[in-house]
Structures are given as C-alpha cells and as structure tokens.
C-alpha cells in the first residue's frame, strides 16, 4: 500500500491555561502514506491546526509518538502553508518565493529553481509584483511556491483556500491537483469543507469533536468518478461530521477512544 510518510500513535497535545489543562487533541492515531493527499476534516477546535503545527515542528506533542521524515538537524522535513499567505510585503513575489534560499539550511537548493518553480506554478508574470498587488488566490499560490522551493517531501496545508471566494477556491484546488501530479508530494490538508476534502483528498480522516481521536478514515480516490459513491460518501461524511461536531469538548482527557468509527463506506482501519 505504499510506505508511510507520517505515523502518529496515541498522540496528545495538552495546553496548560489559566483554567486548567486543555487538550487540543488526545488519543490520536493517524497514518499518512507517501504520495497521497490526506485530508483532515473536523469541527472547529478539534485540534487540526495544532496537529499541523506539530507536524511542521512549530510545536510538540505532550504524549504519544510521531514518526515523519526529518532533516539531519532533527527538524521535520515538512513545509507548512497557513490560511493566510503571510508574504513579506517589502519583497517582490520572486523574492518571497526565494526566501528559503537565504537560509543556510537550504544551501543545497539551486537559485535557478525559483524561476523554474514560478514557471511551473504559473506565476512567472507576477515575479516582480509586490504582495499588495496580488489577489488572495495569487498570494496563496505564492505562499505555496515559497514552501515548495525548499522541496519538503511533506506539504502541510492549513485551510489554505478557506479565505478565498468559491470560484477562486475551485481554481486553486484544481491547480493544486495538477501541481501535485507534477511534483512528487505528500500533502496533509486541513479543511472544514467536506466537498473539498473529497475532491482533493485521496483519503479523508474525520477528527472527533471534543478533541478525542478520530471518527475514521475514508478512501476517496475513486469516489470522484462515481457519482453514486460520491453522493453516499458525502452523505456519510456530512452526517458523521455533524454528529461529532455536537460532541461536548470535555476538558480532561479520558481513556483513549476507538480511533476507527467504521464508516459504512470502506473506512480504512488504521494499520
């Protein structure tokens, strides 16, 4: 079934706040295969962003185990793109994309790659533009290009299209699928949008509300092509999404709950 890019077992992240210890997520098992687009779906506050930040090395687990590709200095070999582009307003598009070249960690990356990447990603005409001159969709493409320049085998996208209008979002989704075919990437995509998860994801994992593990994982590779299966999967996911969104978020992490809710449609057991 292909080798794994990420394996998380019994993972938890607990924040100590003024009101006690608040789990962002707990009892989480997750496996992401190399080369797949793995969509993470879940109600607000279930810990999706926190999980992605941990995968990117910006935060750490409180408990559990995480295996993923790493650089020689121990840093996860993962690039992250956030909901907003966070481009540096004083640099042109080309210089923003080239930001990684200014860091010693990427001295192996060839400078010529910037032009190549701008070309491949359809951003060549924008090379000399300033971020303030870009539309939201263009800015987000530049942000993705900036992360891809340093060639992380793992690309983490935290609701990258959520702030865009529906038409632009559709455009960028298709763009991402094309880019992903061109470059050999493993992508973890966080989204609120069931349709986006099905459309972009090879597999979809639904995280449980109340920060307690996952409901299950659905294989959606063939779903797009078969409208009946699509409708059924969509229906199933939406129903479970709604159900888990209503679960109260208890503050104290209890015993680990089952991580595989077993959807009617080919839910893939964690292996």
């Amino acid at each position: 079934m292909g080798t794994l890019a990420i394996r998380l077992t019994g993972a938890a992240r607990v924040f100590s706040t003024g009101n006690g210890r608040v789990p962002a997520f707990s009892g989480l098992d997750l496996e992401v295969r190399r080369g797949e687009v793995h969509a993470l779906l879940g109600p607000s506050g279930c810990g999706k962003s926190t999980l992605l930040r941990i995968l990117a090395g910006l935060d750490h687990l409180s408990a559990g185990e995480l295996t993923l590709p790493r650089h020689s200095d121990g840093r996860p070999a993962a690039g992250i793109v956030l909901q907003d582009a966070h481009l540096l307003p004083w640099l042109t598009v080309a210089d923003n994309v080239a930001l990684g070249l200014r860091y010693r960690a990427n001295r192996a990356v060839a400078a010529g790659r910037v032009d190549e990447l701008l070309e491949v990603l359809g951003l060549a005409e924008l090379a000399d533009a300033l971020p303030a001159e870009l539309s939201g969709g263009q800015a987000q493409r530049v942000a993705i290009a900036r992360t891809m320049l340093v060639a992380p085998p793992l690309l983490l996208l935290d609701e990258p299209f959520a702030a865009l209008d529906p038409l632009t979002r559709r455009d960028l989704q298709d763009w991402l699928l094309r880019v992903r075919d061109l470059l050999d990437l493993t992508i973890v995509l966080v989204t609120h949008d069931v349709d986006e998860a099905i459309h972009l994801g090879d597999r979809v994992t639904l995280l449980r509300g109340g920060s307690r593990g996952t409901v299950g994982t659905w294989d959606t590779r063939e779903v797009d092509r078969n409208s009946e299966v699509l409708a059924a999967t969509r229906h199933d996911l939406l129903a479970r999404y709604a159900a888990t969104s209503d679960e109260p978020s208890t503050v104290v992490p209890g015993p680990p709950l089952g991580t595989n809710g077993g959807g009617r449609l080919a839910p893939v057991a964690a292996r």
Partner: protein, 283 residues
C-alpha cells in the same frame, strides 16, 4: 462632475491657510514690539524689523553657517549613537517578555527624567565641549528609538516568523530577514520623534561650555546685547526644526508606503512595552 474640488486646490488652500497663520503670528510679533511697546522699551529691541537684517548679516559673515553646521553635526552624532544603542535594545525588549519585564519600569522612569537633568554628570564625566552635548542628544533620542523598535517587533506578523522557521531559518537568520526589515516603518516613526526631541534638547545643551552652535549663538548674542541677532537665531532654530521634521516625515511616510502597513502613530510607539514576540518558540 464631482462636487469635490481637485486635489491641487485642496493642497493650495491648505498652504494658503498655513501661510496666513504664520503671517498673522508675524504681525502679532510686530504689533507687540513696534506698536504696543514704547520706542525705548526693552521689548522693542526684539522687533522682527531688526531681527531679519541681523540674521542676514550673521549668515553673510559666515558665522551663522558655522553655528548651523556644528549643531547639525552634533545632532547627527547623537542620533547615530541613539540608533546604534536603541535598535538592538528595542528589538531585544520586543522579543523577550522577560527582558521587557525587567526593563519596563526602569525605562519609564529614565524616560521621564529630562535629559538636561544629566548635564552636570555629563560634564563631570565627559568634560566640556562636543561630547556632553552629543551625549545629551543621544539620551534624549534613544527612548523613541527603543520604543519604536519594540513596537515594530510587536507589530510583526507572527506568521512570518513561523514560516521562516519551517523554511529552516536559524534565530539569527530570522532576525536579519524578518525582524529587522519588518520593523523599518515603526523605526522610521520612532526616529522622527527622536529627531524632534533631540532638536529641542540640543539648543539648551549647547548653552553649556561650548563656543559654537545655535544654542551658544543665543547666549553670545545676549552677552553682546544683540537682541536682534538673538531673535534671528530663534527664527533659524524654528525653521531648521521645521525642515528636519519635514524630511523625517517624508522618509517615514515612504517607509510606510513601501511596507503597506498601517501608519504607526507616534502615540503607539510610546506605548508601554508588552506582549513580546518569542523568536525562539514562534507560537
């Protein structure tokens, strides 16, 4: 057909009003010294009618220019020192909450002490001459620079630092590629405030033990009972300060345009240092 007047007209009207204000002030000055005051009065000696020719004479014989250039040199030296000290301190305080906690009260205290209060100490330690003047200017200018740099760090987008981190930037690399370029707009505002404060401080500072500069020129004119010259120097001080602020304002406005960030109000730069950005653990 817009009912709003074109931009050049709005600007011309503004300039017109500003000029009117200045002219009225000039007229009042003249009224007080030449109409209200009796001819033999002390007040009559400060008349604009004598100040104008006196200042022309001062510049024609070269002394005026020397005073101006000496003052500007001391000003720039003081500002340069304030920048060299203030930027690293401001950035450090902006980045470290702990450091901000340690220094917050201390800085507020020091900032409230008029730089001129340090004069005797400056003279004891640095002797008489340029050094104490430059020192006092630097002391006056360093606070707005520190606060501007710290405010700039607080205004940084945490996303920039996080992205840089995931791109493999070291702490130092984040400092040079994100923090320093990212605070330029706030720093420009801080420097503008610093320049204004320094300009106010440098004149009295030059009244202490130096024999050149605009502050000295005022005392010198007084000692020679040349009140016409004294008023002329006051005018030059005001004009130069006006011009300096104009230049600083333009520079900082250009910085703001370049960064497409909201203008940093001088008041914002004066805010108490808090909520630092953590470079090490970019949350």
């Amino acid at each position: 057909m817009s009912d709003r007047p074109p931009a050049w007209r709005v600007r011309a009207a503004r300039v017109g009003r500003a000029s009117t204000g200045l002219l009225v002030a000039l007229l009042l000055w003249w009224l007080v010294t030449d109409v209200v005051a009796a001819p033999g009065d002390m007040l009559a000696r400060f008349s604009p009618l004598t100040a104008a020719p006196a200042i022309v004479a001062l510049f024609l014989d070269g002394a005026g220019l020397v005073h101006v250039s000496v003052t500007l040199e001391r000003l720039l030296a003081g500002i340069a020192i304030a920048t060299l000290v203030g930027v690293p301190v401001g950035v450090a305080v902006g980045l470290s909450r702990r450091l901000a906690d340690y220094t917050g009260a201390l800085f507020q205290f020091l900032r409230m002490v008029s730089p001129l209060a340090w004069t005797p100490i400056a003279i004891v330690l640095l002797g008489v001459g340029d050094l104490p003047v430059v020192f006092l200017v630097a002391v006056a200018a360093v606070w707005p620079v520190i606060l501007g740099a710290a405010a700039g760090v607080h205004a940084l987008d945490p996303g920039w630092l996080q992205i840089a981190t995931t791109l493999g930037a070291s702490r130092r690399e984040r400092l040079t590629t994100i923090v320093l370029p990212g605070i330029r707009a706030h720093l420009a505002t801080g420097l503008r405030v610093a320049l204004g404060t320094a300009w106010i401080v440098i004149v009295p500072a030059e009244m202490l033990g130096v024999d050149s500069g605009l502050g000295y020129a005022i005392l010198d004119a007084r000692d020679r009972l040349r009140y016409d010259e004294l008023m002329g120097v006051v005018l030059v001080i005001g004009l130069l300060g006006f011009a300096l602020d104009g230049v600083a304002q333009r520079t900082s406005a250009r910085q703001r345009r370049r960064r497409h960030t909201r203008p940093a109000a001088p008041d914002a730069a004066i805010e108490v240092i808090e909520a630092p950005v953590d470079l090490a653990r970019t949350r």
